[in-house]
């Protein structure tokens, strides 16, 4: 029964917060407590799943192929834990950063709406239900990105809403075609049926539509332009939350679908995904290098890093998948952390533009350190988790003899280091320029504490890489052997 909690709890919190919107202090404390409870629940699910194998629940006692199933395997439990931990940090960060008008206009209930959608997408076992969770998540994010309604935000959110709506329609169209061909929407049932068909190549049409929908959501190469065009517009706490959760749901779904439904033409799909992964990581990082706004550099980086995750999927060995999962967790933490560190820079200097920044290392070494840790982790410097993630991906790539993509991954790592160093040089090391927006802005203690907490989490993820990788290998086993998932849901 614990499996319904990741959905029910955020809903409950959202309703409570919706009715108490004007009481600012209550909103802040309640949502912090709420996200801690959520993290604790997800952690219990992770423990249970890791010890007892895949957990499934049939709400309303409708048996598997007919009702909507909830399933948690190690991968989805890991993603839930990371998401809710990111939400804790954002909840600590927000009171000191977002203005009062936005906070009382429904910011906190919307964040829980977002979390409900994200958690639902992680644990549902039904494709149409997955679409509904995507919409719950997206609707909350639509309102969050437009919240406050500054002209810049309106521009960003029109693009964001349009492209995501179109992608959702691709998703629905694919569901229709798939249902017409297979007659079921339960993921496990569908996967089991597909393994019994002979020559079902015609399913590839529907799968390609699904692939387009998910690559828009996770910002893969031909479909990534909406992300840097909209992510920099809302207050950076919201961007940080989006960066840590939204695109990763697309990646998660792609893993799930690939593992369950790519039965026919595996070689084509593997090649296709590897090519897209290589293009995504390389183009993303190149475009990041040409930007001068901290938020834009980091937004383009999200794209590049999604390429690494998809690379693990294309390799599709236990090592590769485990590396990709570890990399995803690391990325959710480090990426959010760099955005929050950017927020600290903004509080201190009143600008995100590298031209107006400088001398921050001299002014406050601690702020510099808080950016340095996640940035070096993203670049892949050894004791930090980014190194272990990339190491396992590259190891997986060599083992699977995918030398070209591995070379691209290593090259991209160099460019990542370059653009992180660019922010570092411009904002922290360079001498303070003549014209600056603001000289000695106050950094709110809560924002500082939140960023420091996340930096500590990044370091700990690197220090305890061994045990975490163990769990990731377990998750990788489950992804590579989808029979485990199918049997757990259908109760065989």
């Amino acid at each position: 029964m614990i499996l319904v909690l990741p959905i029910i709890l955020p809903l409950l919190f959202m309703v409570v917060l919706m009715f108490t919107r004007r009481w600012l202090l209550f909103q802040q404390t309640f949502s912090l407590l709420g996200s801690i409870v959520l993290t604790f629940t997800s952690f219990l699910i992770l423990l249970d799943v890791y010890q007892n194998g895949i957990m499934s629940l049939q709400p309303g006692s409708w048996e598997a192929p007919f009702g909507i199933t909830l399933v948690a395997d190690t991968f989805s439990a890991l993603m839930m834990v990371t998401t809710s931990f990111v939400s804790i940090v954002v909840m600590i960060f927000s009171p000191g950063f977002i203005d009062k008008e936005r906070q009382t206009a429904g910011y906190y209930p919307l964040v829980f709406g977002l979390l409900m959608g994200v958690n639902g997408a992680f644990i549902t076992g039904d494709i149409f239900n997955l679409y509904v969770w995507y919409e719950v998540m997206l609707t909350s994010s639509f309102v969050l990105i437009a919240l406050g309604g500054s002209p810049e935000q309106l521009r960003g959110s029109i693009k964001y809403v349009t492209i995501n709506f179109v992608a959702s329609l691709f998703f629905v169209g694919a569901i229709g075609i798939l249902y017409g061909q297979a007659g079921t929407l339960n993921m496990a049932d569908l996967a089991a049926k597909m393994r019994m068909w002979e020559g079902g190549n015609y399913i590839n049409g529907a799968l390609m539509l699904f692939f387009i929908a998910f690559s828009v959501k996770s910002a893969l190469v031909p479909f990534f332009f909406w992300l840097p065009a909209s992510y920099h517009t809302p207050p950076i706490a919201i961007t940080a939350l989006f960066a840590g959760t939204l695109t990763k749901v697309g990646v998660y779904t792609m893993f799930r679908f690939y593992s369950l439904f790519i039965v026919f033409d595996q070689q084509f799909w593997q090649m296709f995904i590897l090519i897209l992964a290589g293009l995504t990581m390389f183009i993303g990082v190149l475009m990041a290098a040409s930007q001068f706004d901290i938020r834009k550099i980091l937004s383009f980086h999200i794209i590049s890093q999604v390429g690494y995750m998809i690379m693990g999927l294309g390799i599709f060995t236990v090592t590769g998948i485990a590396g990709a999962i570890y990399f995803t967790i690391h990325n959710m933490l480090s990426k959010t952390n760099t955005f929050l560190a950017g927020g600290l820079v903004y509080q201190r200097s009143g600008s995100y533009d590298l031209k107006y920044l400088g001398g921050l290392y001299k002014a406050s070494p601690f702020l510099a350190l808080l950016f340095f840790i996640p940035a070096m982790s993203l670049a892949g410097i050894p004791p930090l988790p980014g190194f272990f993630g990339k190491f396992f991906l590259i190891k997986g790539g060599f083992e699977a003899q995918q030398y070209f993509i591995t070379a691209v991954a290593i090259l991209t790592g160099l460019f990542t280091l370059f653009s992180m160093v660019k922010i570092w040089n411009e904002a922290y090391w360079k001498k303070e320029p003549e014209e600056v927006k603001q000289r000695d802005g106050k950094v709110h203690p809560s924002t500082f504490f939140a960023t420091a907490l996340l930096a500590v989490a990044v370091i700990l993820l690197g220090v305890f890489a061994g045990p975490v990788i163990e769990v990731c290998l377990d998750a990788g086993q489950q992804i590579v052997n989808p029979e485990m998932y199918i049997n757990a849901v259908l109760g065989r």
Binding site: V143, P151, I158, V172, I175, G176, G180
Partner: protein, 113 residues
């Protein structure tokens, strides 16, 4: 019926794409609405048309073959409701954008950098 619906879906998709590519933002919203309708119809047609058959009939378990499948209609209903919500939000957003910038031209969307 099938051919008619297929043509209708094609026309809807075509006009939706045309409208989406216009510079006027209100036409963009119209395009999104058309695209939603086309997709709902696609869901309806792709999951199989059975005309003149009831969805459920009590006491006739062995004659399920001739019955129409109620699930796609439930799916479409859900998709319509979600589409309605998103469209309403998009309209509000565009109206707000119009009030702030006094224009419906897409070129205003690009930032001045």
């Amino acid at each position: 019926m099938l051919v008619l619906l297929a043509v209708l879906i094609g026309v809807l998709y075509g006009s939706a794409v045309y409208l989406l590519l216009r510079r006027n933002i209100f036409k963009l919203i119209l395009g999104l609405i058309f695209l939603g309708h086309a997709t709902n119809l696609l869901l309806f047609v792709a999951s199989g048309l059975t005309s003149g058959k009831p969805a459920f009939l009590r006491g006739l378990e062995d004659e399920t073959i001739g019955m129409s499948d109620p699930l796609p209609q439930a799916l479409i209903l859900t998709a319509i409701v979600i589409g309605l919500g998103v469209t309403a939000f998009a309209l509000t957003l565009v109206y707000r954008f119009y009030k702030v910038t006094k224009t419906v031209d897409f070129d205003e969307l690009s930032e001045n950098e």
